[in-house]
Amino acid sequence: MSAVLVVEGLTVDYVTGAEPVRACDDVSFELRRGEILGVAGESGSGKSTLITALTRLQRPPAVTTAGRIEFHGTDLVALGPDDLRKLRWTSLAIVLQSAMDALNPVMRVGAQFVDVLRAHDKTLSRKDAWTRAAELLGMVGISADRVRSYPHELSGGMRQRASIALALACGPELVVMDEPTTAVDVVMQRQILAQVLRLRRELGFAVVFVTHDLSLLLELADRIAIMYGGRIVEIGTAESLYGKPRHPYTRGLRDSFPPLRSPLRKLNGIPGSPPDLRNPPPGCPFHPRCADRFDGCDEQRPELLTIEDHAVACRLYPSGEDQS
């Protein structure tokens, strides 16, 4: 299948102080049609920076200093603001963590759909646009009589679903979701995920789903990229990442979620703190917290190498061979 999105060597710096801070370092991945790519990372992993760079919503002091973001063969990094605007909504849509607060509080929910729909399809009549708005809200389980509600009349979970529907209004091929379920409760989270999965099946869009919650991605995503210290340290299918994580960080992260059903054993998480990007450790960014580090981990920075269905950046797997 063809790739919708190809990211190559994406590097983002923040140029606030005297020394630029590298928040995203040489990130590369591919996204196929209709695929859900999960990006998991903690604070300082660079995942939020990656999102703003991908969607070109980045603002100073963040600067993309290297790399390409190829969306259907067009390099987004080189694109001007006008071309970007044409691309947004119709091909590339975004759902943010606080999307529920992004709805205009003084406009009826339906009217905001109508605005978006008619801005991208000038031939659409006002009446048809309202009908379409009701359909879109129906896709996320919001009944048609809510079209004329104001955002404050909807619950947080409903607003979040409405903003997902709004993102899908113009039939994008790629939806970037930044922690879309972090601000809602577990039950609503389950409902949103079920709806996203069904809509993906029906409409065939691809998703980049960014979150700190790896356990969620294991159920949702086709493939998962683990970020640490601004880089992807491991990327592979959800099954292989859960069943056979290679990178010590991935393993530690997986074992940071206590099981819901299987027998309990003592778990330790990962000792130490996530790295400070202003003052990154030399060599592998994970080495200060790594139980498996050995001579040289504090000097050499491991490259992302492919092993079978899976790529990992760790010196335990020097030539891309599986050791374990």
Partner: protein, 315 residues
């Protein structure tokens, strides 16, 4: 079972909101025993934080009573606070950004042990929460510490008081995933070493299972089910508990038939005008006529389990 240290009996809290009232907590009953951890699980708006703040005496209950060592608490809370301490959710908010670690701990030690060797005790406290080497942390400001380190300082400050009860209001939910378990292990160690009674409030049922002995589930201001954790999770009695467990992320999930339609799970009711009868009945696929009119009583079941559900009452 030993005598509970801290108890809530039939506690309710209503907040006035204009002309109406918010029924934040109704008829909550809870007992904390030394050396045991109770997890209070619920979604936002279930009343779990209000209950924690009632137990921390930030405001008085509208009705019902709170008992410490079997005696009803009243009057000024100063003496109460040498037995009960609360750990806040946000480690960034619960330390004054203008004070060093040392100041926070020294104040707590001086207030409770005026004759002690302050420096030595402060060092001991930092060691107990594994902030070692002590010199590396003692003179830091909060903004120089990571979230996990801050939460350790907060716990150390609470321990300086030598409390009998620790209330943790989602103490790990704002920390990075990889350091949460260390924090839970620390709480578990304190329970074992000091025989602390611990209330662990969370929305994450998996972490509750990891840490606690007993689980209590709240929904829309009411307690709906409680009992030993493995029993409650393996065989929930109340349909809402079932929903909560089914909704939690679980990579080992098997494809079993769900009681609920995952695309339409509904939402908790407004606490200003909650539904009559069982508060879960509008979302409950098993609701009966009686559920719509009468609130279910507490049904005690063998093995220390209980629930508020007409289904169990009928059995």
């Amino acid at each position: 079972m030993s005598q509970p240290v801290l108890e809530a009996r039939g506690v309710s809290k209503l907040f006035p909101a204009g002309r109406s009232t918010v029924r934040a907590v109704e008829d909550a009953t809870l007992a904390l025993q030394p050396g045991r951890i109770v997890a209070l699980v619920g979604e936002s708006g279930s009343g779990k934080t209000t209950l924690a703040r009632l137990l921390a005496r930030f405001y008085p209950p509208t009705s019902g009573e709170i008992r410490l060592h079997g005696e009803v608490v009243k009057g000024k809370p100063r003496a109460y606070y040498s037995d009960v301490q609360l750990i806040f959710q946000d480690p960034f908010g619960s330390l004054n950004p203008l004070h060093r670690v040392r100041y926070n701990l020294e104040r707590a030690v001086k207030l409770h042990h005026p004759k002690a060797d302050v420096d030595q005790r402060v060092a001991e406290l930092l060691e107990r929460v594994s902030l070692t080497p002590v010199e590396q942390f003692i003179d830091k400001f909060p903004h120089e510490l990571s979230g996990g380190q801050r939460q350790r300082v907060v716990i150390a400050r609470a321990l300086a008081v030598e409390p009998k009860v620790l209330l943790g209001d989602e103490p790990i939910s704002m920390l990075d995933v990889s350091i949460r378990l260390e924090m839970l292990n620390l709480l578990d160690r304190l329970r074992t070493e000091d025989g602390l009674a611990l209330l662990y409030i969370t929305h994450d049922i998996a972490s509750a299972r990891y840490l606690c002995d007993d689980i209590v589930v709240m929904y829309a201001g009411r307690m709906i089910e409680g009992g030993p954790k493995e029993d409650v999770i393996a065989d929930p009695l109340h349909p809402y508990t079932q929903l909560l467990i089914d909704s939690s992320p679980d990579p080992e999930r098997s494809d079993r038939p769900d009681l609920f339609d995952a695309e339409d799970l509904g939402e908790p009711p407004s606490l200003i005008d909650p539904p009559a009868g069982c508060r879960f009945h509008p979302r409950c696929p098993l609701a009966m006529d009686v559920c719509r009119t009468e609130a279910p009583p507490r049904t005690e079941l063998p093995g220390g389990r209980w629930t508020h559900c007409w289904l169990q009452e009928k059995r």
